[in-house]
Every structure is written in C-alpha cells, then in structure tokens.
C-alpha cells in the first residue's frame, strides 16, 4: 500500500493509486532559498541512509535553457508561458516524481504545483483556469516553506543573479518595488494553503539544526511506510 496518490483534479487517471515513498514540496517566494533547503534536506537524508532525490520544475537542462530564452524574450504571453511550465511539470511528474515515489524514494520537489500556481495567478491568470491546467499534479505529503520577507528574497536573488527576474515583478520589471509587490501577491496567495495543507516553515535555511529537526520528522514519516 503506502500513501494514496492524490491529485489536484480528483481522480486524475494515473495507473497507480498508492506509492511507498514520500512526496515533499519545497515552495515559497522567489529567492526564499528553496534550492538551498531542498539540497540540504536531501544531503542529510542520504547521509542517514534514506533514499531521496531532488526534482526541479524542468525535465532537463536543455528545456530549462530554452525556457530561459523565451523568458528573456518577453514576447510569450502569460497563458502560453504558464502552459509551458505546466507541460514541463507534467513531464517531471510522470517521468521522475511518480516513478521515484513508486520505488520508495523520498522525493523533494524544488517547486511543486503550489508555487507554479501562485506565480501564474500573481501574473494575472484566472485562478480556476490555472487550477485546471495543473489537474495532473500530485498533492504533496508535506510542504516546506523557507520563510522570507519579500525584501530578504530580493536580497538573496540579487546575490546570485545580475538582475531581478522581469517576470517576477508587478509593473516595473527588474525594479525592487515591482519585485516586492509581486512577492507580496504570491505570499497572500500561499496564505490559505498554509492553513489547509500539511505545512512547515523553516526560519533559516542555513541553520543546520533547524533543518536537521525537519529531516527527523521526514524520517519518522518514512518509518511509517517502509518501502
């Protein structure tokens, strides 16, 4: 048995109904430290002997770089761009996440449907339409959010990139105020999910002890459903 496959659209026709692994989503603001946190959880789990894997929103480096070209071009509109992200995430779900869960892995999703959805809605797309497009997506067994204020997220972004992402902005691409306003929107869109879903917040992704406590929770969960 294991955990039931639960999808955003009820009864999405996947072949399997249960998986022995655990599906962990890392979601939060852009620049909140998701990747740092995902990699640290993965490292600690592996060092304790738990099989885990980190997946991103893209199925390959090539698809990611092609997407970046489109993003910088800025001519592709929000609906087409979101559908492209949704298609990539459908590939990742079918080709990577589900097979690994079926094999008993702890799958750490660096971005799940939750923040993909929030970004699309924050960019002006209809909530219900975006819901539809992500109907195939798995509901995570646990969501972990790196806590970050929009300003902290902007600072982290600017430490790793030349400029702020023009698509993560309201009205003023690459300006700090536009980025902050966009992250505020995302945060408010995440708020109801924080209350409805199994959700944990990490205050400091660089705090080894805080992450270790979270890893312990995941390991205890894993013991409940041995692969």
């Amino acid at each position: 048995m294991g955990r039931p496959v639960r999808t955003l659209a009820p009864q999405w026709p996947y072949a399997e109904t249960y998986y022995p692994g655990i599906y962990i989503a890392i979601d939060g603001l852009d620049g909140s430290g998701r990747t740092t946190l995902a990699n640290e959880i993965h490292r600690q789990l592996q060092s304790h002997g738990y099989p885990s894997v980190v997946t991103g929103p893209f199925p390959s480096k090539k698809s990611q770089s092609q997407n970046t070209l489109n993003k910088h071009d800025r001519r592709v509109g929000p609906a087409s761009r979101h559908l492209l992200y949704a298609s990539f995430f459908a590939i990742v779900t079918q080709q990577m996440i589900l097979p690994q869960l079926r094999a008993g892995y702890i799958v750490i999703s660096d971005r799940s449907w939750i923040s993909l959805h929030a970004r699309a809605v924050a960019q002006g797309l209809s909530d219900t339409w975006v819901d539809t497009t992500m109907g195939f997506a798995l509901q995570p067994d646990l969501v972990i959010e790196p806590a970050a204020t929009p300003l902290a997220a902007a600072r982290r972004k600017l430490s790793g990139a030349d400029a702020l992402d023009p698509l993560e902005s309201v009205d003023m691409p690459e300006h700090l105020a536009g980025f902050l306003a966009f992250q505020e929107r995302i945060s408010s869109l995440l708020q109801p999910r924080r209350l409805q879903m199994p959700w944990r917040t990490v205050q400091n992704v660089s705090d080894f002890q805080e992450v270790a406590e979270l890893v312990h929770v995941i390991e205890s969960e894993s013991e409940g459903f041995p692969s």
Partner: protein
C-alpha cells in the same frame, strides 16, 4: 485581468479540421491565395507552429517524454502563443484568419489519447469561436495514400504510438487516425463542425469552399476598413470564382 469577448472582433475566423492527409492544408493554401489575390487581408496559421515553442516541442518529442497531459499542455502553450500574438490582433483589426486546425484538434487528439474531454475544453475556454469550421472528411485509406505519396516518414506521436501500444508505425497511425475520424464525425453530428467531402478533386473542393465562404465574408463588408485606399471585402470580389 481584463476579459475581452473575442467573438465580437470584426475579423473572420475560418477553420479547417481533419485527420492528416485529408487535404485541408492544400485547400487552405488555395483559399488564402484566392482571397489575397482579391485584396482581402488574409492570414494563415497552422497548428503547432509557434516559433517560440517549436524548439522545446522538438526537444521533448525527440525524448519521447510526453504523457497525454504534457502533450496536451504543450500544444495549448503553442496555441495560446499564436492566439494572443498573431491571431487575436488580426481578428481585432478585421483580417480573415484561415486556421489549419483549431481547438477541435486538441479536443479530438487528446481525448483519443485518453484525457477527459471536459478538461481539454477547459484549457481552451473563452477562445474565439470560428465563423466557419469545416471538417475535411476522408477515409483513412485515402489519407494514408496521400501521405505515402508524399514519401514522408511518420513520427512517434503523429502515429499515436505513445497510446496505441503498436510497434508498427503505419499500423498505429491507421488505428489512431480511425479513432480521430470517429471523434471528428461525432463533432460534425453535433453541428460543431461542418462536414465536407474531402475525397472530391481539389478543383471541385475549391468551388464548394468558396461558396461556403461567401456568406461568412459578406457579413464583414460593412465593418471592414483596411489600409487606406484598399477596398473592403465585397460581394463582387468574392464572386470571382475559379
């Protein structure tokens, strides 16, 4: 987000649907030349032709990564890119848009691939309804002989091998085309598509299609006002037949 009623735009949208090899692209191309020769502002668009999505489409199809959902979403991405950047501005400006496949291709193909039709239709909600949507009906053997005549190699997704489970590409293609033909015929029965006999000669087809187009385009005459000095679509011009 501002919601626009794309059905109120003054341009005209003519859609050709049908299985591969049904002759719709040839017919569309001839209609485009006919309209353009008469000074009618016309624009042709084809399914799966966004220049931005194409390299991504090629990459993931080559990898054979696409589940039915991913396939559907990626083609919707292609559609919406063309829809917002290329098609809608022209419809709003009063062009005649000839579409070689429209959302019905997704309805038919993706439901044959096992996806829920209402889910597929929701992806394309609020998309402009055509003024004329024609289903080019041709039996599979004619369509296949046309494709074989073109000496074209079938591809994995085109032949439906991702869902048929058949190793032989032509056998899979035949199975897939027949499934789609049945789905198209159902849409024609429901009155969504206008059934057209695509087994006729190309010349005969054009005669009929031009007759079908006339009432659709005549209705546009009053509201069309194009490049300065250029005449609007008129009954006289459109009656210039073969």
């Amino acid at each position: 987000m501002t919601v626009h009623d794309h059905n109120s735009y003054q341009g005209r949208l003519i859609v050709a649907e049908g299985t591969d090899g049904s002759g719709k692209s040839t017919a569309i191309s001839l209609l485009e030349s006919w309209l353009a020769a008469q000074g009618v502002p016309v624009y042709r668009t084809a399914w799966n032709s966004s220049s931005f999505i194409k390299p991504i489409m090629r990459h993931v199809k080559k990898k054979e990564w696409l589940s039915p959902a991913a396939f559907s979403l990626l083609h919707a991405s292609d559609f919406y890119d063309r829809y917002h950047r290329l098609i809608l501005p022209r419809l709003e400006a009063g062009y005649v848009v000839l579409a070689d496949r429209w959302v019905y291709t997704a309805w038919v193909r993706d439901s044959v691939r096992g996806l829920d039709l209402s889910w597929i239709q929701s992806l394309y909600q609020d998309v402009r309804e055509p003024d004329l949507a024609i289903y080019f009906s041709a039996p599979p053997d004619i369509a296949i002989s046309r494709l074989q005549h073109a000496a074209r190699e079938l591809k994995y997704y085109e032949s439906g091998q991702d869902v048929s489970g058949l190793h032989d590409r032509w056998a899979s293609f035949l199975w897939f085309q027949e499934k789609m033909r049945q789905a198209y015929l159902a849409l024609a029965d429901q009155g969504v598509l206008q059934l057209f006999d695509a087994t006729l000669s190309i010349t005969e087809q054009q005669k009929i299609l031009r007759q079908w187009l006339q009432p659709v385009l005549e209705a546009q005459t009053a509201s069309s006002s194009f490049f300065q000095g250029s005449p609007p679509i008129s009954k006289t011009l459109l009656k210039g037949g073969l």
